[in-house]
Structures are given as structure tokens and as C-alpha cells.
């Protein structure tokens, strides 16, 4: 089926089979391999992308369901040649990643959260990213990083 979507601020148009999830479409048809697949049954959160402002699991959404939507992947959080966003910088500073596989989903989830709720406290952050599995960090550094990045969202420096 022919669909269009706005992906990381760019209009894209493509032909996609109904059975293809948004995750596979992003990864293999649109080259956005930063979106990772670690369970493909909606439990781990690694494939989280932002659709129309909301964090969603892209393995539990068909690409055709994203027709005409605004989609942001991890690649859309900061331009290639731009410095890190405050969120990315906070992840690096706090060593909030090791193997990097859950990281894209953590970043997209946190970005959607802080955009909607810049005042999110640590408990709220923990409860939201409880939908994202990380096997390396034990989460402590991730919560610290997201909490610190909240400051930038409160003053409106989002990128």
C-alpha cells in the first residue's frame, strides 16, 4: 500500500505491505536503524518511537497505521551535524547506556515524556521508563540523566 508520513521533519512516501510493522518499515525501508527490535511482542520498549507526539511501541503498530502521521525516531532528536540535545548529553554524562541497544527507546520515551511533562519527578520518570527494558545499567543512571535533562525542557531548550 502506498503511504505517506512525516519522518523526522521530512515528508516520505513509500509502498509497504500490510504485514510490515512500523519498526521494520523504519529500519529496513526507511533506513532508520536506530530503532531497535529486542522482543517484537510489545514488552521491551527498545522500538519506541514518537508518533504524533506520543511514545509508542513501533513493533505493535503497523506501518500502514502510521499513514499521514508525524513520526520521530532517535535519529530525529538531534541533527547529524548538531551537538547533542540536552537529553543525549545527560545520558552521556551519567553513563546512562552501556551496550546501547535499549538507548534509542529510552531517549524517545524520555523525550516524549519531558516534552509533555517537563516537571516529571524521579518517580514519574521511573514509572514511565518501566516500559523500557535495560539489561546493562540497572536504570539508576538513566533516571538521573532524564531527570537532569528535564531542566532544559522546562526552559524550552529542547534541542
Amino acid at each position: 500500500m502506498q503511504i505517506r508520513m512525516r519522518l523526522n521533519q521530512e515528508q516520505v512516501e513509500l509502498d509497504v505491505q500490510p504485514r510490515v510493522t512500523l519498526a521494520d518499515c523504519l529500519r529496513h525501508q526507511l533506513g532508520k536503524t536506530g530503532t531497535h527490535l529486542a522482543c517484537e511482542h510489545g514488552v521491551c520498549g527498545a522500538c519506541t518511537v514518537i508518533v504524533n507526539g506520543q511514545a509508542v511501541r513501533s513493533c505493535l503498530m503497523l506501518a500502514v497505521q502510521a499513514a499521514d502521521a508525524e513520526v520521530t525516531t532517535v535519529e530525529g532528536l538531534a541533527a547529524d551535524d548538531a551537538p547533542f540535545s540536552p537529553l543525549q548529553a545527560a545520558f552521556r554524562k551519567h553513563n546512562a547506556l552501556q551496550c546501547g541497544f535499549c538507548t534509542s527507546g529510552m531517549l524517545t520515551t524520555a523525550h516524549a515524556l519531558l516534552t509533555a511533562e517537563p516537571d516529571a519527578d524521579r518517580d514519574r520518570i521511573r514509572s514511565v521508563i518501566a516500559g523500557n527494558l535495560c539489561r546493562c545499567t540497572g536504570y539508576v543512571s538513566i533516571v538521573d540523566a532524564i531527570y537532569e535533562a528535564g531542566e532544559a525542557y522546562r526552559v524550552g531548550e529542547r534541542s
Binding site: H41, Q98, C99, F101, R126, N132, L133, C136, G138
Partner: protein, 771 residues
């Protein structure tokens, strides 16, 4: 971060932000499924749904008729001699008959065993076609438990005559004499459940056979590339030089990723068979039954003590449910539990027998701190029980039995009938320092007042314990330094990256060794291209071994710089000094290193090691138990570890905290459940549950480097596993202490809410307690 290369470079020990993060945080990592080749096709693996059976027939006809299907490969396509997975660690010839064929030949022995490979135009089509491969398997009696295995009524390998794959024994002193007349002897059953490493990224491979170049390239390798290259080359009958293994970014290893699995042959073979690149991505469902399982062990130990708590000896038997085959490192956990159960404690008399038993389950391998997590659970439980029985403060009992600094190096039990690297000893340090520091950080003196108390309906408990962490396995590791034309330095290491920040840590060591800015060093790893040999990342060895090799390579590298500069500057070589990326002659004349690059400034050295390192430390836990639900909240968890030399406190701290949380998963959640018919019930991440962000919010870690290892030039000890080792014992002791008013006795993990509730309920029903 601005770091400069003036003399006195101090990158080692500094919290350098990771270079890996620059790509990961932009979604620009290169994991194996991120990579594609023109003309590639996709593999899906048909796996046995029968735990034990004889294959009568495999009919490919219907599958081959499916559109987009290119091939269905079974054992008969591979040839008369289907290769077996080599045993990398403890390669004992007597267990060779128990090695796993890379594809089921005439029998299947566990649910998940590969039976056929389907190759198609897309992953979806390949998966669709699996349903159309008709497999007829005659079921055989299933061996689904250690007990059933022990009866030998149904044999996995009838020609082996028994399901007992191997027995190990750890010995020291004379246990018979030690137990004779002991004031106190405690016999106790203790068990750890089957669970697994579960790295975030499932495995994946992309194999590319180029016939005309006579070259096989395999992407997606990891951990032990050189070993696996030799293995796959031998299996395919190629020269090693025709095979290149490439490590992409890897989404976590924890011991399981990167070992040689059936697919490490099947996917390269498929590419060879079809003459096209073949890609395979393990999905999570198959990952749960295909990747190594771990840790299913049951101990029956006896501990003998004097009245004052001095431990006289330990003896007993450990039964290991190994699963269906002996895989590449499957014997490591059982051998380790024999040698390392006693951990940091001075136990002069040891006799531990370990039986490795075959069952119709997924084969086991190593998972972070193999055999050590299990052994620590056993010994910490035994000491806690003994202390309570003897009326001694458990802290004092541990202090009394901890090895003292003056006893270093302290030998571990001697292993019988095993590999050449068996004798080992704790190398250096003072176990009392980390124990005392941990108690202080934890605020033990105050928290102990809560012991067993019921507050707002929940019972509070605390516990503390100690551990040692072995590291730095030999035999050696290689590193190569090369001066590039732009003056930067390329560092090639044989260690592998599995997400632990290897590029950063190796870069710090190399930059310091050469006194150059961090940014001038580029670290390359993960290709069999780069070096003559390499040994990889396991046994907490990559930093110690690879880092030491870099230090060794730095000396000849500098010598070559001086030699080249001496020629150019016409000064005596021994008078050339190397400062600030320049070579300077006595009169002040100097030349930039980059201007010497044409002289082929490079060096390659390897660091050999026969002695392991032993980091060590202590853990403390404070829990609250809800008797109504069985839920355990971990209110505080503290670990203190001395690692000899800290290279990067930021990355080390991250690994420590992460390891603790994995250990809490092992203690309270994770369980691969099989039913009596040998079917794996936990087939999804909704059923195999691991810690989430809101489960264990308070984890604290302190890392020290007061006592360097004498066994390597860095002084470093293997680290990264210590955070997990003592968790099972310490956390479960805290739970038992919390429930002391009920008199519960914890014998096995995991302590899921239903399991904890059951412990309480049994005591209540027995009339021994009231909630």
C-alpha cells in the same frame, strides 16, 4: 572533554565519557541487523517442539513450493559428518561424545534444537515457510529433571551409558578429620533456578561467501572471534585465512552472546550452499530456548564449625542440570562452583563433588559470574544459618572466617581431573577493608535495629556478605599500536566489545602509555583482520589482558619513534625524548610524530598470564517483606569492591550497579520454567520477567583500588561481575532475617512473591507462627 598530552597524562582513573556514546546516542550504532548486503536472503530456523525424540522424516516439499523460498537445509544437506560445536573451555576429551551437532541429525534432545534452515526472500516469508516443513518425530521418554536424569532410565546418549556427563571435585585439606568431633555440623539443601543472561539484542549473523575470492565473511560475531573463526573454518574445510569474522556493535553479552552456537555454522554454511549473503536474526521467542541457559544447580552441603564460629570444613555434593549437550563453555559453571563456593572465606578443609547431568532442556553455558553466583548463594546461606544456630553475630562470624591480608596469596581448592589452568589463588588485598567499608556505607549499626521488625505491616531484614571475583583468564592477549599519517595512533586489540565501553577504556590506557591526548587514539577491535590472534572477552579479562598488552606494546612503539627520530635529527637515540607528540633532541631540535609515520612506526605485543586476578568486596541489603502478597521491596543495597586499579570510574560504576540489578532479577524474578514434559513454559518476555526501572531504585556502589594486582603491569583486576556474585546469598539472607519470627528457611531461588508467601504460609499452617 579537553584532555591534553603533556607529560603526566592522567586519563587512567578519570571518568572519561565514552566514545561509543557518540554513535549510540544518535541511533548510529552498527548492530548486525543494521547491516545489509546486496542480494542477501534471509534464514529462519525450524526448531524442535519435541524435547526428546527420533527424527523419522523431514519433508521439505511443501515449503519449497512456497513463493520466495530458496532452500530448506537439513542435516542431510550438510553431509555425512555433521560438525559438532567445539568445547572452548575445559575441552575434556571424555565429554566429546556429548557435544552438540550443529543441526539435529537423527535425534532431537531439547525443545528449540535446530532441525532445518529455511532460506527465503524476506524474514517473514522464511518464517511463514517454517510451518510447511513437515517433520515427523517419534517421541522418546523425556528427561526433564536432575532426578530423572540420575535414574538413567532414559538416556540422552545411549552409547555414553549414563546421563552423568562429568564429575568435578574440589579438594583441600582433610574433611574427614575436620568433621570428626566438630562442635557443630549443619547439613543443608540449597538450589538455584534455571535462568539466563538475556542480553537486550538477540543474536544475529550475516554471512557472505564469495566463491571467486575464496573468502567467507561473517558479521555478528562476538566475544571470542579467533576461536570461532578456527571452528567455522575447520567445519567448512577452509583455511583460517579464508575466513573473516567481524564483530559489530553488540547489545550485551553477559557470557552468553558470542559463544559458538549452531547458527554460527548454519548461517555461513547457508551462504556457501546458496552462493548468496544470508542474514539471520534470532527473534526473542527462539532466543529464550536457543541461547545458553544457566545456573540450574542444587547443592547438599555440610558445614562444620567450632563453637566460636570458626569454620572447620565444608563437604557435599552439587547436582547441575546442564541440559541436553555440553556446549562451548558448559563445564565452566560446574567446575567453578567446586572451586569457588568457599569464596573469600578461610575454609581449610574442602571436599565438593559436582555432577553435571544431562536433561532434555536447552544446554547451559556461562552467565556473568558462572558458578560464582551459585557458590556465593550456597556459602552465604550456610554461614548465616550457622551463625544463628551458634548464637553468633553473623557479621562477626564472617570477620572471623574472612581470609586476612597476611595470608595472601591464598590458594583455592584444588580441582581434580580437569584442565591445566586449575590451580589458582587470591592474589592480593584485604577483605576486611571492603567488608567494613560496606557496613559503614550501609549504616549497618542503625539498620540492624530493624532486624525482623514489623513496621506498617511489612517485615524488615538486613544482611551482609562477602565475595571474590576471578578475572584475567589467560593464556594471553594481543595489542598492536600503529602511528598513522596524521599523527594519530591506531590501537588494535584482541579483546572484544560487548557493550562494556571497551573502546573508551583501551583508549585511556593507550593515551596514557604514549602521553597523547585521548582524541588522538583510535581503538579497533572485533575483527580477525587486525591481529594474528586474540582471545576475547570473558572471565572479566578484556581490560586487564588487553590493557596490559597495550602497555607492553607501548615500549617498543616508543623505541621505534626514538630510533626514527634519531636518524632524522642526527642525534643519539638514547638522548631523544618524547614530549607532546614530538621527538626532541638534546639541542632542542624536534620533529612531530606524524612526520615519522612514513617509517612504519608500529608494534605488536601480547601479554601472557598464568595467574588470575581476584577483585573482592562485600554487599549489604535491606529488605521489607509484605506477608500478604509475598512481595519483597529492596529498600537499600550497597556494594563495595576493590578492583586493584580503576581505569574508568564512570564505566566501572555503571557495570557494578547493572550487575547488582541483574542479581536481584536472579534472586527475585527470573526463572525459565519447564513442565514435566520438557516444554519450556516461559516463552515470552511477559513470562520470563526481568527487573524494570521501578523495581530496584536504590542501589549504591563504591569502588576502591587500594590493592593493585601483582600479576599484571596495570595492577588491574577483572571487574564487572562482582556486582552480581553475592546478591543471591545476601538478599535471601535479608529476606530470611526479615521473616525470622516465622522461622522460615529459604532453600531455593527465585524468591518470587508466590514463593515467599508459600514459605510464610507453610510456617503458619504448621502452627509455628502467625502473620
Amino acid at each position: 572533554m579537553a584532555t591534553h598530552g603533556k607529560s603526566g597524562n592522567r586519563l587512567v582513573g578519570a571518568p572519561i565519557e565514552r566514545v561509543e556514546d557518540l554513535r549510540f546516542l544518535r541511533g548510529k550504532g552498527n548492530y548486525v541487523d543494521d547491516q545489509s548486503l546486496p542480494n542477501q536472503v534471509y534464514a529462519a530456523i525450524l526448531r524442535s517442539s519435541v524435547p526428546h525424540g527420533r527424527i523419522r522424516k523431514i519433508d521439505k516439499t511443501r515449503a519449497l513450493k512456497m513463493p520466495g523460498v530458496h532452500a530448506v537445509i537439513t542435516a542431510s544437506d550438510i553431509g555425512a559428518d555433521v560438525p559438532v560445536i567445539p568445547i572452548r573451555l575445559q575441552p575434556l576429551p571424555e565429554v566429546f561424545p556429548l557435544r552438540q551437532p550443529v543441526i539435529a541429525v537423527d535425534k532431537v534432545r531439547y525443545v528449540g534444537e535446530p532441525v532445518a534452515v529455511v532460506i527465503a526472500d524476506s524474514p517473514g516469508l522464511a518464517e511463514d515457510a517454517l510451518e510447511y516443513v513437515d517433520v515427523d518425530i517419534e517421541p522418546l521418554p523425556v528427561v526433564a529433571s536432575r532426578k530423572a536424569s540420575g535414574t538413567d532410565e532414559s538416556l540422552l546418549f545411549p552409547e555414553y551409558k549414563t546421563n552423568l556427563a562429568k564429575r568435578f571435585t574440589g579438594l583441600k585439606g582433610n574433611t574427614a578429620a575436620a568433621f570428626e568431633g566438630a562442635h557443630y555440623i549443619k547439613k543443608q539443601r540449597l538450589a538455584v533456578q534455571r535462568h539466563m543472561a538475556l542480553p537486550m539484542e538477540p543474536r544475529g549473523l550475516l554471512a557472505d561467501w564469495q566463491k571467486h575470492e575464496n573468502r567467507l565473511t561473517v558479521y555478528g560475531a562476538g566475544k571470542v572471534l579467533f576461536f570461532n573463526r578456527r571452528a567455522v573454518a575447520e567445519m567448512l574445510g577452509f583455511d583460517e585465512s579464508s575466513v573473516v569474522l567481524i564483530e559489530n556493535d553488540i547489545g550485551g553479552g553477559f557470557g552468553a552472546r558470542g559463544e559458538f552456537y549452531p547458527e554460527d555454522f548454519l548461517i555461513p554454511f547457508s551462504s556457501y550452499f546458496l552462493g548468496r549473503p544470508v542474514k539471520w536474526n534470532e527473534d526473542r521467542r527462539e532466543n529464550l530456548s536457543a541461547m545458553n541457559h544457566a545456573r540450574e544447580m542444587e547443592a547438599e552441603y555440610e558445614l562444620a564449625c567450632d563453637a566460636d564460629g570458626t569454620i572447620r570444613g565444608i563437604r557435599g555434593h552439587v547436582d547441575v542440570d546442564n541440559g541436553a549437550y555440553v556446549r562451548s563453555n558448559g563445564l565452566t559453571p560446574p567446575r567453578n562452583v567446586a572451586q569457588f563456593t568457599t569464596g573469600p572465606y578461610r575454609i581449610p578443609n574442602i571436599h565438593i563433588d559436582v555432577s553435571v547431568r544431562l536433561t532434555n532442556k536447552t544446554p547451559c553455558g556461562t552467565y556473568r559470574a558462572p558458578g560464582r553466583f551459585e557458590g556465593s548463594f550456597f556459602i552465604e546461606r550456610l554461614i548465616e544459618i550457622a551463625a544463628h544456630d551458634l548464637g553468633i553475630d553473623p557479621i562477626e562470624m564472617r570477620r572471623k572466617n574472612l581470609v586476612n591480608a597476611g595470608e595472601m596469596p591464598y590458594p583455592m581448592a584444588t580441582m581434580q581431573h580437569i584442565d591445566p589452568y586449575t590451580d589458582t589463588e587470591c592474589d592480593s588485598g584485604d577483605f576486611h577493608v571492603t567488608f567494613d567499608r560496606c557496613l559503614k556505607e550501609f549504616d549497618w549499626d542503625n539498620k540492624i535495629k530493624l532486624q525482623g521488625k514489623k513496621i506498617d505491616g511489612r517485615y524488615h531484614g538486613v544482611a551482609a556478605g562477602c565475595f571474590i571475583e576471578g578475572g584475567a583468564a589467560g593464556p594471553r592477549e594481543s595489542a598492536k599500536l600503529k602511528l598513522d599519517a596524521d599523527g594519530s595512533i591506531s590501537v588494535f586489540v584482541g579483546s572484544s566489545a560487548v557493550g562494556q565501553g571497551l573502546e573508551t577504556v583501551m583508549g585511556q590506557i593507550a593515551a596514557d602509555a604514549l602521553n597523547v591526548p585521548f582524541e588522538r587514539v583510535k581503538v579497533f577491535h572485533g575483527s580477525t583482520h587486525y591481529l594474528r590472534e586474540g582471545f576475547g572477552s570473558y572471565h572479566s579479562r578484556s581490560t586487564v589482558m588487553g590493557g596490559s598488552a597495550i602497555l607492553l606494546a607501548a615500549a617498543p612503539f616508543k623505541e621505534k619513534l626514538r630510533k626514527a627520530a634519531a636518524r632524522r635529527l642526527e642525534a643519539p637515540e638514547q638522548q631523544i625524548t618524547l614530549i607532546d607528540e614530538h621527538a626532541v633532541a638534546p639541542g632542542g631540535a624536534s620533529i612531530a610524530w606524524k612526520d615519522l609515520a612514513a617509517d612504519d612506526i608500529s608494534s605488536e605485543e601480547s601479554f601472557s598470564n598464568t595467574k588470575h586476578t581476584y577483585a573482592y568486596g562485600a554487599h549489604c541489603a535491606h529488605v521489607a517483606v509484605d506477608p500478604g502478597t509475598g512481595h519483597v521491596e529492596v529498600l537499600d543495597y550497597v556494594t563495595v569492591e576493590d578492583v586493584g586499579k580503576i581505569i574508568n570510574p564512570l564505566t566501572l560504576h555503571g557495570q557494578v550497579i547493572g550487575a547488582v540489578v541483574q542479581g536481584l532479577g536472579s534472586t527475585f524474578m527470573e526463572h525459565l520454567v519447564y513442565n514435566e514434559d520438557g516444554q519450556l513454559l516461559t516463552g515470552s518476555l511477559a513470562d520470563y520477567v526481568v527487573p524494570l526501572a521501578d523495581d530496584y531504585p536504590v542501589i549504591r556502589g563504591v569502588t576502591l583500588d587500594d590493592y593493585p594486582s601483582p600479576n599484571n603491569p596495570l595492577g588491574a583486576k577483572g571487574a564487572g561481575e562482582g556486582g552480581i556474585i553475592a546478591v543471591g546469598g545476601v538478599a535471601s539472607n535479608a529476606v530470611e532475617n526479615a521473616l525470622s519470627s516465622f522461622g522460615v528457611r529459604i532453600e531455593e531461588l527465585p524468591l518470587t512473591p508466590p514463593a515467599v508467601w508459600e514459605l510464610i504460609e507453610q510456617r503458619v499452617n504448621a502452627g509455628n507462627a502467625k502473620i
